[in-house]
Every structure is written in structure tokens, then in C-alpha cells.
């Protein structure tokens, strides 16, 4: 079984927001201005941390959790965790009750006012199934910090990078520890 994960090492993120626009491009025709956001980048700080000023960019997007709170929350069985690891929200089945939105610990689900459904990243499954990287993970990120693939391999890559940097960076991104737990 091939387990897919989308992991963003926020330590390395520069806040360039290309991933946001890449996701928009994938899901909206050129003429459509906006449309719902599956992924959003936001400034965390500047704030005081241990007496030092710190400032990071955070990327909010579905983490395709191993034990997804959203799946449990949905009364319509509209969200399911697939064999390959992707958590899919089925828009046909979604009635827009918004229970999942409250339950997601990462605030990764939004309400699409136009379609009156919940909306979230489905990990570009239409691309992944055809052997294409998700739009945001297809090498557009200047920090090379958006990873797609097997979570254990990604963890390894991030650890190696951290070593090369001289030990900088979070030890393990949250999603990895989640998927282990």
C-alpha cells in the first residue's frame, strides 16, 4: 500500500504564497477571480518567544490525518480516509451542516458560501491518481518545503535538511507525529 501525505515544513516557509495561487489555478478557470481557498499562508508573529522575537509563516491545509476528526464528525459519511492515506470530502454527499469545520483541529475546512458545502483540500487526488504531483507540491515552492509522498521518507528528508542547516528547524513537523500516533 502506498501512503500519500502532504507535509509542509513551516520552518523553511518564506511566506511567498505561490502555493496558494497554484492551488487556485488548479481549481478555478482563468476568468474566475477567486473561489474557495483550500490552503492559506498566514503570518505567525512577530512575537516574543523565550525572550527573543520570532516570526514564522504558517500554512493551513488539510493534514490528511491518520485519525481524522472530520470523518467522525460528519453525519453524512461525506468524508472518508482512503487506503492511500488521502482524506476525501465528497461534495456530492456534503449537506453543508458544517460540523466537520468545528472539529478539524487545524482549521483546514472552510465553508463554500456559493456551493453551500464544506470545502477542503482533497490532496489533488485527480492528479495523484494519474501520477501527477499535487498542484502545490509540484516543485513550485522556492523553499522546497512542500513534500508529497510517503510520510516516513519525507520525515527522513526533513531530518537530513535539518542536519545540513546545522540543526535548525523543528524536530518533526506535527503531521508526522500525528500520523505515527
Amino acid at each position: 500500500m502506498n501512503k500519500h501525505a502532504l507535509i509542509i515544513e513551516e520552518f523553511a516557509c518564506w511566506g511567498c504564497r505561490a502555493c496558494e495561487v497554484a492551488c487556485k489555478q488548479e481549481y478555478n478557470p482563468v476568468e474566475a477571480d477567486n473561489g474557495i481557498k483550500y490552503l492559506s499562508v498566514w503570518p505567525d508573529g512577530p512575537k516574543r518567544m523565550n525572550g527573543k522575537l520570532d516570526f514564522m509563516w504558517r500554512v493551513s491545509v488539510c493534514k490528511h490525518c491518520d485519525e481524522p476528526a472530520c470523518v467522525k464528525a460528519c453525519p453524512e459519511d461525506a468524508i472518508m480516509k482512503r487506503e492511500d492515506g488521502i482524506v476525501i470530502l465528497n461534495y456530492e454527499k456534503c449537506t453543508g451542516c458544517q460540523l466537520c469545520i468545528d472539529e478539524c483541529p487545524y482549521h483546514a475546512i472552510r465553508f463554500d458560501e456559493e456551493k453551500k458545502t464544506a470545502a477542503k483540500c482533497n490532496l489533488c487526488h485527480h492528479r495523484v491518481e494519474k501520477g501527477l504531483y499535487p498542484a502545490c507540491a509540484d516543485n513550485i515552492c522556492l523553499a522546497h518545503c512542500i513534500y508529497f509522498g510517503d510520510p516516513a521518507e519525507i520525515e527522513q528528508k526533513i531530518l537530513e535538511k535539518r542536519k545540513a542547516r546545522g540543526g535548525w528547524g523543528e524536530i518533526i513537523p506535527k503531521a508526522i507525529s500525528m500520523s505515527k500516533g
Binding site: W14, A18, V21, V30, P46, N139
Partner: protein
């Protein structure tokens, strides 16, 4: 299970049923990234990065990804128009290209006849790699006047590097610098000339140390080993302080200094005028930190300085640039692998030759506006814009009658916007080429619809110093839009310059490439061509300067009558230079921090980019906010001696409470009146363009550091 590969073109074509793809070269900013443009039913359907591109290695930014939204924008100008009402009435009528170009040609010839070619001023901004054609038409005409951002953006790096070491030293990310100073820019957001954030980011991932010089806490500053949070406008003093440490603690490269520099002794004397106590007092940076940064930079090899425009939009522009080069130079990092390389371009007709600077007669060169005053700029064909506005408004030293502005919106980008407005309102005839009817274009007589990078063939990055040229291939045609190059090629023939131009612009591309014995058609088949890669070239032939040395003491500046050694000059308005004014305007205003989706005044109408940054933001410290009774998200008034605008507050701990940081470039295309809100949040309404406040050699306007007040907007006190 299918195998995953980045930018899998064949599979994209198959899965999405695209009709074709074109590899091209983005020009939404200075970055110049290689892209793959997928086309379906004759329209751009998707833009992706090209992994074969040596500049960005397939990564892209928000602007590049949104290019198709620019090309197909509903408000885009797609045919030539002439104004049929008074200026700024918003009354336009469609005309043919022939009528438009004939009208412009007739005006150029009439003004040339009556007032001399110098009365016709061309201009461009930072947009579309059009500098070579614009200089060519002006020089052949005999006009010495091309008004650009060159006085305070990139031009200074070119001018000062030519007189110091022959050419602009470019960071050699390919060989992974082990220490990087990011000085006054954030390459991860802004992609300044020659640079993309990607190689910088990779260098950090390889373990490079990072020093950031910035009054604001950016993410790079937060990640840095040392963050030097300086008082705005004191870069030169800080650099002199670092040089003081490097010189007195003998951390410099002795062989380089002995064999390859000119003016070491007077330079040391000057540096000794800046002991760390004095530098700390000027810059607000603790001297331990200055010493730490100087040590880290001087003792880690190779090391490089990622520089940018912020240090140039200051009173001390030329010396700031020179001082950073001195840091690169005396530490032995110039032309060293992983340091800062004096690249060789491929063997093409260079931009200067194409620009026909040699054809400008001597007596016309002598008439360059402001040429007596800003002598370094003038030598390199660069003007101080105020000299143009003055010539329009006061007709001194002679009248300027016509402006032809191409891809530039000076009403928003030039200092002291209200004066710019008066000049554009008064000028007898103005033609503009742009994508939209911008606030500047609304004051024109004729506006020509310009092509985006998706709509033109060109030798991409032709003018740059990173050593590469890359083909920009035309993908689509939108309406009647034409590239700046094509429209000027056509116009030139209508004003009798036919013998110096071409039947079509493809022939001009062949001309650029002919020294390599290839044509545009051959070049189009390549991904890129790179110039010869060679390090330490100065060890054989010296530097391309008058002394053949790396000039710490500039013989060129000395001849021009300037101080040959760099110094710190206080900004024209500062707590130190104008303490009385500081009592009335108690905050230091800095301007121009970049947003990822915008390129100066561009892209405010592009949905996917505007949604990233809806409003013009001014960042202030929470303490300042409390003092001024301002809350997060409030609209506030920022006011200087010259005027006031409104922006929206974001509270941020990441700057000194004495500093207020406002965004630049704002107008509101969604406002349909012809002003499009140009006065509402345009920070250049506040900036100073007095000639006395400019850099004495380059004429750089000091738009980055001034004094302001900030206070809540009274209810109903909206500016529009």
C-alpha cells in the same frame, strides 16, 4: 502505481488534454523564471515552472502563476485609444494603430523641429525588458532624456560597480556561499534583479550562515544568526563600522588588498573616522552585534551579500552600494566561487550597443536634464525625474513638450506625487503604453495597448549580469496588443529612423544574437545560453576601471568633483538632521516593503493576487498604537510635510516603536473614476523629491526614510 516526476509535461498533456505547451520566460517582475505554458483552444490554461531553467529551477512565484489572469483581464486595454475629453475625464475613443503611431510621430517631429529633440522625453518603469529599444529611439532622435527608475533602482548598482570593479558583482549561489548578508531586501518575496529566492533558500539549507540588515523583522531576519536592526537611512555608517572592524582586526584578504585595490591608505583613514561607538550612536545597532556580524562575514569563506533596492532609494545611494562592494572586495569574495562573481554575458550585441548611446551627438548629451548636477547618473544616461517635471512646469533649462511613457506609472511610483500630477497635467502631449488605463495613463493623449510577456518573442534577461540569456517565446495574441519593441520599431520608421531599425522585430532579435552566429530561430530551440564561466579574472587582466584596480578610492568620482571616498550622510529628514521637525513629525516613516503578489503599482486588479493583500498596510509597533490610540485594522492617516494618505494598520512587534512602515504602489483599479484612487493611499504623496535631498552623484530620491505623524482617521474623514 504511476511514478511521480516534477513537471511531468507528457502526463499533464495527456491528463488535461492540452493542445500544446510552450516553454517561455516569465516577466512579471525582475526575476525572469523559466516557465511551461500549457495551451488549450488557443488560450493559456496553466502556467508551471520549468525545471530546466537555471535561474529558478522550476519554482515559481504568485505573480508568475497568475500571469494568465493579467493577459485575459476584462479591463485590459486591447486596442489603441485617444482621449476625446479633457485630461482625466476618462473619455476615450478607439483608434487604429496607424492613426495612433502617425499622431505620435507627427508630434515628435514637430517638437524636434520647434524645440529640439531634447523636448521629447521617453520613459519606462521596471516592466518589460524594453530599455534597449527605448534608448535606441531616443538616442537616434537626439534626445538625451529618458526618464526611468534608474536613478534609484538598479541603475546605481550598475554605475557604482562599473567605476569600482567593472561590472555588477552577482552572488554565486551555484557554489553555495557559506555566509550571506541579506542587506535591505527580502529575496524570498521580491526577486530583485538577477536573483530568485530559490537559490538563496537552497544555500541556507546547505548550512550557510545568515546576517540580515533590515529595520523590519522579516522571516529571513528571524532565521538569521545575526539581525542588525538599524535606524533607517544609516546603512553607510553600519557598513563603515563593519569595515572598521575588518580593517583594524586585520580580517581582510591581504593579498587582494595589496595587489588589487586602489586607495587603501586613504580608505583606512576614512574607515577610522567611524569607530564602533560612533557607529552605534548613528545606527542604533549595538556595537557587539556589529562586531559579531563583521567577524562572521569576514571569517567565513566564501561569503556574499544579497543586496537590493532599499539602500539605493536614499540620500546615500551611491556610497551605500560602494560600501557593500568594499565589504565583498576586501574580504576576497569578489569573483570567487561562492562569492560574488563578475559574470560574462554570452557574446551578444550588448544592451549599450543596441541602445545606440554612441549615436547621441555630444552637444545633445550636454543637454541631458540635471546632467551638471548628477554627473555619475548622467554619464550612464540616467535622469533624476524631478528635472523632467521642472522642465515641464517651469520650462527650465528648456521646455519639455512631450512624454512617451512606456510601462510606468510615475504618478504612483515617483517621489512627491502631487508635483508629478501637475507636470503630467501640464505637458503638451503625452503618449503611454501599458496594460490598463492607469492613473498615469488617464492623463495621456494616446494610450497604446502593450503586450504581456506571454505575447512576445524576446531575448530574456538580455540586459542582466547573471551570465544567462533565455528565450521568451510568444504564446498568445490578445486583441491588438503589441510588444513595446514592436511598437517602437514601427514608430521609429515613421519618424525617419528606418535605416537604424528592422522590417520586423524578429530581425532585431537576429541582430542581438548575430555575434554568436545564430538566429532567433536557433536560439528559440535552446533552453538558455550561458556566458563563459571563469573566476578570479582580475588576476590576469585587472579590473575594468581607470586604475585597473578595485577602486576603494574612486578616481572617476574624484574627476567628477565628488568625494572619492564613501561617507555617511544623514537623510534629509531625520531625528538627527531635523530635530525640530522631528518634534512635529515624531515617527520615522519607511516605505516600500514588498508583497508577494504585487510588482510596484501592478497587479492590484488581478483577483488571485489582490486577494493575498486586499488593503494598503502600514505596520506600527503596539506601543506606538497605544500612544496614538490606534487599534489593529484601523484606517489611519499618515502625514508628512508634503501631504497625507490613509492606510490600514497592522500591529507588529517586529520594528522599533519609533518606526512606521508603509506600503507603496497603491491605487484602486476597482474605483472606476479616472483617478482610480491615486491620492488615497499612495505613499509618494508624502515623499520628498527636492534635489537637495537626493544622492549627489546618482540623483536617487530619498523615498525610504522620512518623518511622519500617524493618527486615527476621524469618522467620515475619508480622502475620497
Amino acid at each position: 502505481m504511476p511514478e511521480f516526476r516534477y513537471s511531468n509535461i507528457e502526463r499533464e498533456m495527456e491528463v488535461y488534454g492540452y493542445d500544446s505547451f510552450v516553454k517561455s520566460h516569465c516577466r512579471m517582475c525582475h526575476g525572469g523564471c523559466g516557465v511551461i505554458v500549457y495551451v488549450k483552444n488557443g488560450k493559456v490554461s496553466k502556467i508551471a515552472g520549468d525545471p530546466d531553467c537555471p535561474i529558478a529551477h522550476g519554482t515559481l512565484c504568485a505573480k508568475g502563476l497568475a500571469s494568465a489572469q493579467l493577459a485575459y483581464h476584462k479591463d485590459r486595454l486591447t486596442y489603441p485609444v485617444k482621449r476625446i475629453g479633457p485630461k482625466a475625464s476618462g473619455k476615450w475613443e478607439q483608434i487604429s494603430w496607424d492613426e495612433a503611431l502617425d499622431t505620435i510621430a507627427e508630434r515628435i517631429l514637430t517638437y524636434k523641429e520647434k524645440h529640439g529633440p531634447e523636448s521629447v522625453v521617453f520613459g519606462y518603469g521596471t516592466g518589460r525588458e524594453n530599455e534597449a529599444v527605448i534608448y535606441r529611439i531616443a538616442n537616434v532622435l537626439g534626445s538625451p532624456n529618458v526618464v526611468t527608475a534608474g536613478h534609484f533602482c538598479y541603475g546605481p548598482r550598475i554605475c557604482t560597480s562599473i567605476i569600482t570593479c567593472g561590472t555588477n558583482p552577482i552572488v554565486d549561489y551555484e557554489n553555495f556561499p557559506k555566509c550571506i548578508i541579506m542587506w535591505g531586501n527580502n529575496v524570498t518575496i521580491s526577486n530583485p534583479d538577477e536573483y530568485k529566492g530559490e537559490p538563496f533558500s537552497v544555500a541556507l539549507d546547505k548550512g550557510a550562515n545568515l546576517i540580515v540588515v533590515d529595520p523590519r523583522l522579516t522571516r529571513p531576519a528571524a532565521r538569521a544568526n545575526v539581525w542588525l536592526q538599524l535606524r533607517p537611512g544609516t546603512d553607510a555608517a553600519l557598513a563603515l563600522g563593519m569595515l572598521n572592524v575588518i580593517v583594524n582586526e586585520k580580517l581582510y584578504d591581504k593579498e587582494f588588498v595589496e595587489k588589487y585595490t586602489h586607495g587603501w591608505e586613504p580608505f583606512v583613514k576614512r574607515v577610522n573616522e567611524y569607530p564602533l561607538d560612533r557607529v552605534e550612536e548613528i545606527t542604533w545597532v549595538p556595537k557587539e552585534k556589529i562586531r559579531e556580524a563583521a567577524h562572521l562575514f569576514a571569517t567565513t569563506k566564501p561569503a556574499a551579500i544579497q543586496w537590493g533596492v532599499a539602500i539605493e532609494q536614499q540620500t546615500n545611494c551611491a556610497d551605500n552600494d560602494r560600501l557593500l562592494m568594499f565589504l565583498m572586495g576586501i574580504t576576497g569574495n569578489i569573483d570567487a566561487p561562492g562569492g560574488q562573481v563578475l559574470n560574462r554575458q554570452p557574446n551578444v550585441v550588448n544592451v549599450g550597443q543596441f541602445g545606440a548611446h554612441g549615436m547621441l551627438p555630444k552637444d545633445q548629451f550636454a543637454k541631458r536634464l540635471g546632467g551638471d548636477r548628477f554627473r555619475l547618473a548622467s554619464r550612464f544616461a540616467i535622469l533624476q525625474p524631478k528635472c523632467v517635471w521642472d522642465a515641464i512646469l517651469e520650462e527650465k533649462p528648456y521646455p519639455v513638450k512631450m512624454l512617451f511613457l512606456i510601462s510606468t506609472n510615475p504618478l504612483i511610483t515617483s517621489a512627491n506625487a502631487r508635483e508629478v500630477y501637475r507636470a503630467l497635467e501640464k505637458v503638451e502631449f503625452m503618449a503611454v503604453a501599458d496594460f490598463f488605463l492607469t492613473p498615469t495613463a488617464e492623463l495621456a493623449d494616446i494610450v497604446l495597448p502593450a503586450a504581456t510577456w506571454l505575447e512576445m518573442d524576446y531575448v530574456g534577461d538580455y540586459w542582466k549580469r547573471h551570465g544567462y540569456i533565455l528565450p521568451r517565446r510568444k504564446v498568445i495574441q490578445v486583441g491588438e496588443c503589441r510588444s513595446d519593441h514592436e511598437m517602437l520599431n514601427d514608430l521609429a520608421r515613421r519618424i525617419g529612423q528606418g535605416q537604424y531599425w528592422w522590417n520586423n522585430f524578429e530581425e532585431a532579435l537576429d541582430y542581438i544574437l548575430h555575434p554568436m552566429n545564430i538566429t532567433w530561430n536557433d536560439f528559440k530551440k535552446t533552453n538558455y545560453i550561458r556566458g563563459e564561466v571563469k573566476y578570479y579574472k582580475y588576476k590576469e587582466g585587472g579590473f575594468s576601471t581607470p586604475t585597473r584596480k578595485f577602486e576603494l578610492y574612486s578616481t572617476t568620482l574624484e574627476k567628477m568633483g565628488y568625494d572619492p571616498l564613501p561617507q555617511h550622510r544623514e537623510p534629509s529628514e531625520s531625528p538627527v538632521s531635523t530635530p525640530d521637525l522631528y518634534k512635529e513629525y515624531p515617527y520615522i516613516l519607511i516605505t516600500g516593503a514588498r508583497q508577494p503578489g504585487f510588482f510596484h503599482t501592478e497587479n492590484r486588479q488581478i483577483g488571485r493576487l489582490r486577494e493575498l493583500d486586499r488593503d494598503p498596510i502600514v505596520e506600527i509597533h503596539p506601543d506606538t498604537a497605544a500612544k496614538e490610540k490606534i487599534k489593529e485594522g484601523d484606517w489611519v492617516i499618515i502625514e508628512s510635510r508634503r501631504g497625507s494618505v490613509r492606510q490600514r494598520v497592522r500591529l507588529s512587534l517586529g520594528r522599533d516603536p519609533r518606526i512606521v512602515a508603509a506600503q507603496h504602489g497603491w491605487w484602486f483599479p476597482e474605483k472606476k473614476d479616472p483617478g482610480h484612487g491615486w491620492q488615497e493611499s499612495n505613499i509618494n504623496i508624502l515623499t520628498d523629491n527636492a534635489l537637495e535631498s537626493c544622492d549627489p552623484a546618482m540623483g536617487a530620491s530619498n523615498i525610504r526614510t522620512l518623518l511622519c505623524r500617524i493618527y486615527p482617521e476621524a469618522k467620515g474623514d475619508s480622502h475620497e
